[in-house]
Subunit: 411 residues, 2 copies
Amino acid sequence: MKTWFNVPENSDFSIYNLPFGIFSTAGHHRRAGVAIGDHIIDLEAVAQAGAFHSLAIDNSVFSDDTLNRYIALGKATTITIRCLLQEWLCTEGSVLQKNKQVFVAQADATMHMPVAVGDYTDFYASIDHATNVGKMFRGPENALMPNWKHLPVGYHGRASSIVLSGTNLKRPKGQVKPADATAPVFQASARVDFELEMAFVIGKENGLGNSVSTEEANEYIFGFVMFNDWSARDIQAWEYVPLGPFLAKNFGSNISPWIVTTEALAPFRVAGPKQEPAVLPYLQIEGDQNFDVNLNVYIKPENGEENLVSESNFKYMYWSANQMVAHHTVNGCNLRVGDMMASGTISGPQKHQFGSMLELTWGGKEPLTLANGEQRKFIDDNDTVIMRGFAEKDGKRVGFGEVSCKILPAD
Amino acid sequence: MKTWFNVPENSDFSIYNLPFGIFSTAGHHRRAGVAIGDHIIDLEAVAQAGAFHSLAIDNSVFSDDTLNRYIALGKATTITIRCLLQEWLCTEGSVLQKNKQVFVAQADATMHMPVAVGDYTDFYASIDHATNVGKMFRGPENALMPNWKHLPVGYHGRASSIVLSGTNLKRPKGQVKPADATAPVFQASARVDFELEMAFVIGKENGLGNSVSTEEANEYIFGFVMFNDWSARDIQAWEYVPLGPFLAKNFGSNISPWIVTTEALAPFRVAGPKQEPAVLPYLQIEGDQNFDVNLNVYIKPENGEENLVSESNFKYMYWSANQMVAHHTVNGCNLRVGDMMASGTISGPQKHQFGSMLELTWGGKEPLTLANGEQRKFIDDNDTVIMRGFAEKDGKRVGFGEVSCKILPAD
């Protein structure tokens, strides 16, 4: 595929990607856009040029401040629109080439949350991560809980505090209990950690009481973003028994601004791990369910350079997105458009592939040394954590850009 | 206080209550209303009669299909409106008496979800409930977890599946692991249970990164509803380690339709338990933080009569709503208008005051016998569970009506 539009080499936003997002420009409201190279295709402007006339859709969806109504049009429509854009970008004299005003430089735009998140669910679906954490807390014999290989363990998280890349977060305060203390103390968390995750956006409603099969799940998964599930390990250790993590997680999570569609990721599908013991029929699915997406994490201290601290890959997941959807709805739980489901920390089998400081420093016992000579057990004040992800194959690159956040000092 | 309006004796919706809800009537859209006796005051109609003119508010909030924008006007406004209604209901010749069209018979109305719930948090804040569950699962020595008296244990639940009283739910299916089995099986839950809870609705936003003190929390708690937090005990037992309950809870929760304001509940404030050990300063608060609200649970088998199975009271809470808000936000987590926080199962110290079948039948070991001679360990297909709550003192009654739901057979 060759486009007449100028896309820089190695851009995450190649002609093969065309992810959806919400942006604004000076003096003009939030609206829907598609990334191409260093630019954004302004979908409101494209619609105003009459380009979508034949689709008989309500053009006002492109002027909303979230993509929810657009995504709710359904896969048939959103796939068609992405294909049309691709075609127009490759056709001389197309409606896009004739209407250059539809292109906005990313440098002139501000990105915003792409969807209003109804409910957010976090899974725990990387076997290397679950094994690492289990080894640290329960020893190597009992690393994986008995249920872990039978179902994708998940729990509900906080939707309100999912914010965009670039929204910095204050170090959370809370109760922690020092090992040698008889009572908890109140303090700023001393163990703030990132979690390298991917999340997907739900694009269809099932309605309360209706299960979605692993095959049907394809219609429900609109696309993916990168997800930093910030965690305060010391708060978590004290609070999480018996009902799970709460304040250790809900002070904030960051996502990357562009939703990369499952269609754009299709060429990068790979087989997942063989699931043994065999899973129950409602979780079974054929075909390549994983995605080969390189995931890198960098720590950038204040005034310092970026330090690559993790090189993981989305392909290491034990449980797939389709299985998560099937499991989530098997009891009749209703999904809504804009809901977000995150993978849980994505660690690979090797040490440099671990997706959290907890694992990389093995609970703080083996600090990382940065290029400036400083050491890190966890994330320090004014450190920026940057995650970047991209798939690449046969000269095609489909990337996520980045998700970035600085941890500000506690009040 | 004496009203010229005909309020039946012992009505939950006395002149002292005036709770807010969303209703519709044949051929007319959803809109805001206030319950009085067997009627509803149609706030859209009251606004159209010009009654709120002096308040300089946007009257369109009363025509929304949720109360979110109304509640977001803030306590000063919502308290004023409730006071005005009270005054008009007690004044001969008032705008309400002159505009009888503003009264709608509850029998002619359909109630709807009063708010769009952004995030839902469930706490675990009754000491009798936590102790009972702890005894059953861990023995009497370790009944309460070490953190339990230091913080109100809470976790995020599912907002999408919170539905109104009267929305019946299908028995959920899922993985359960029989004690003697080596692997889980897929089946309809055999241990569907109610949980008697109260929930409160958040009425103010704090913004990400900002804590709310226990005193400031008063501004954030708009009012209360009854809450049935349905639970599938067998699904829960298998799935909940280590990240908490998930599919065991998110197949549905029911709420009562009318939000009873904290102002209406003020006369029924009572002291909570003495908290020992003393809680950390951010959780401390003076004054009567509990509410004396009688809470009764009934099981009505198909074609059978109602059986009173639990007589609990909201006053038995160990942790108060204000403490929940302070704890929830101490790390900077942002609350939004319409968020819901539930108390967790409210059990009293005596056996007939337990708020779940798990406790009432002690894990199914001591079945209840119903009036028709049938026994119940948990909830059977086509059983309707009805919860009713009311406060009463000095001849004043402020009630919640009921929250009711029938468990339908699994598909």
